[in-house]
Amino acid sequence: MSTKTNMVAPPEGVVGEGFFATKLNDVVGLARANSLWPLPFATSCCGIEFMATMASHYDLARFGSERVSFSPRQADMLMVMGTISKKMAPILRQVYEQMSEPRWVIAVGACASSGGVFDTYSVLQGIDKVIPVDVYVPGCPPRPEQIVDGVMQLQELVKNESVRRRNTPEYKELLASYNL
């Protein structure tokens, strides 16, 4: 049994005989960050790099994404990988609307971030035209290490997020700006 396992550090708190007192935000953030279940919305070439990320060499499961969920109701983060065309945009929106809070979105690849190399009449120039995005991973396609880095950045975001964020007026305004 290896003794070099990297356990996630506990949050700051007061330790005593049989108790550990810390903030609710920290504990919830820690729990959420290390168990993000992805919904892989793989459309094109970036989807193959995602398959390589989920395979044994780069293993995204180490970061808590063991269970890949294809049902939006059961997923935490939506990973949009690949070009989204205008025909696909309503479907992407439907999938995002079905996800329950808290939910995060990673735009993997240049096409999802801004339309990529396809500046044409049929391609949506970035998924942030229809849904709010938290992390953008550039690349065409991004290496698996970059995708993992994107997930790790999202983990930082999730860890430091307040439990009340989804009820704040700023968040509601953000959703309203997308007509959600």
């Binding site: 790099e49 390589a52 065309s85 044409t120 009449y121 391609v123």
Partner: protein, 411 residues
């Protein structure tokens, strides 16, 4: 909005209203929607179901239409390779080499033997990579996850070889008009030798896991068969056609890039069902390995690119020191190279079948019309026919064995 919400005038709604079975049950509609865990890529099928059996299917594609043909009319010849990469992205070097061969046919350029053999090696590696994905994902769709994890390690090894050659993993953008951009390093050949030693062992284990496996045979034999006449009528080419019994292979019919220097057999199936398609792809991997070994053994010395200074970017030392190289470099980058007016159709054997490029030029720096004959687009038309009468899980397995790649379907 596509047919997400079925309007009442859809003909399936009419059929449901009219038809009733003897026991009073009626048909139902199931939307095998664009996003589905088991479809490889985004295409939609609206299925008319009689209980568990599929009566009729209506496919909708175009969810990843990126207008490649329109973009190609606005890009000079060097800038079209990244587009070809992204069509069949599982085996992108084949698409790249096919484009370069089309341009070389247009310009009547003779590629030296060494470059041709190297092209053969990289195309066969790409074919192996494509079949690895198809067969391992077919395993995943029948529930066997192990094969996928195991052989994907070897896809990483193939990616490392691509990185040594051109710097990229998946969308390789490899090659130039007349050959390659640089000589392959010793590291690339070393990695290739290691791959040729380790991969056959793993592929043999992968085959043993599936080919006599009772569950796999139950799931795939006699599932989605297609006869040879039907396959030819629907325009099938590639492994799907060969599984139906017709031995048409572009590498044999119209050899390009010195394929006629190599000995290989073309594996053919019998009934065209899923099991045959799986076995044909397995056998093709063995043939590809044999071709790579032959090419490495007979690899001649010589230049790795043709001597066409008007179309091939000169090395940077020459650009900075000699005048003609500077002028050629400028003209090539700006796209002011002499292009004849012609119409070319060049087919190659892609991972899925006959990938053809129909190029019409008018003498300007961009093609006038570039049309891709994409095998996936043509044989996917037969899918509704193939799943009539089967169960839903069989429909998924059939789709998986056809190896439909969304990028090539919609282009």
């Amino acid at each position: 909005m596509s047919e997400l919400l079925l309007p009442p005038e859809h003909r399936y709604a009419k059929i449901i209203n009219e038809k009733r079975n003897d026991d009073g049950s009626e048909y139902s509609i199931l939307n095998l929607g664009p996003t589905h865990p088991a479809t490889h890529g985004i295409f939609q099928n609206i299925l008319l179901m009689d209980g568990e059996r599929i009566v009729e299917a209506e496919p909708t594609i175009g969810y990843i239409h990126r207008a490649f043909e329109k973009i190609a009319e606005n890009r000079p010849f060097y800038q079209i390779t990244p587009l070809t990469d992204r069509m069949n992205y599982c085996s992108s070097p084949i698409n790249n080499m096919a484009w370069w061969m089309t341009v070389e046919k247009l310009l009547d350029i003779e590629v030296p033997k060494r470059a041709q053999y190297l092209r053969v090696i990289v195309m066969e590696l790409a074919r192996i990579a494509d079949h690895i994905i198809c067969n391992s994902i077919l395993g995943v769709d029948t529930g066997a996850y192990t094969g996928f994890l195991y052989v994907f390690q070897f896809r990483e090894k193939i990616y490392e070889i691509y990185e040594e050659i051109c710097g990229a993993r998946l969308t390789t953008n490899m090659g130039r008009i007349g050959g390659f951009e640089r000589e392959w390093s010793n590291e690339a050949f070393r990695k290739l030798d290691v791959f040729l030693e380790e991969f056959p062992v793993a592929w043999k284990e992968f085959e043993n896991l599936f080919e006599r496996n009772r569950i796999f045979i139950d799931r795939t034999v006699n599932v989605g068969p297609i006869s040879a006449e039907s396959a030819m009528a629907y325009g099938f080419t590639g492994p799907n056609l060969r599984a139906a019994g017709v031995d048409y292979d572009v590498r044999v019919a119209q050899p390009y890039s010195s394929y006629d220097d190599f000995e290989f057999i073309v594996p053919v199936g019998k009934s065209g069902d899923t099991y045959d398609r799986f076995c044909v792809r397995n056998a093709e991997v063995w043939e590809s390995l044999s071709i790579i070994r032959q090419a490495l053994a007979k690899l001649p010395e010589g230049p790795y690119h043709a001597d066409v200074p008007e179309y091939y970017l000169p090395p940077k030392e020459d650009v900075y020191t000699t005048m003609e190289s500077l002028i050629y470099h400028f003209k090539i980058v700006m796209g002011e190279v002499p292009i004849p007016v012609a119409e070319i159709y060049h087919p190659v054997e892609g991972g899925n079948g006959e990938l053809g490029f129909y190029l019409v030029t008018d003498g300007s720096r961009t093609p006038y019309r570039l049309h891709f004959r994409r095998p996936c687009f043509i044989y996917y038309q037969a899918y509704p026919e193939m799943i009539k009468g089967s169960l839903l899980s069989d429909a998924i397995v059939i789709l998986s064995s056809l190896n439909v790649i969304a990028g090539e379907l919609d282009a």
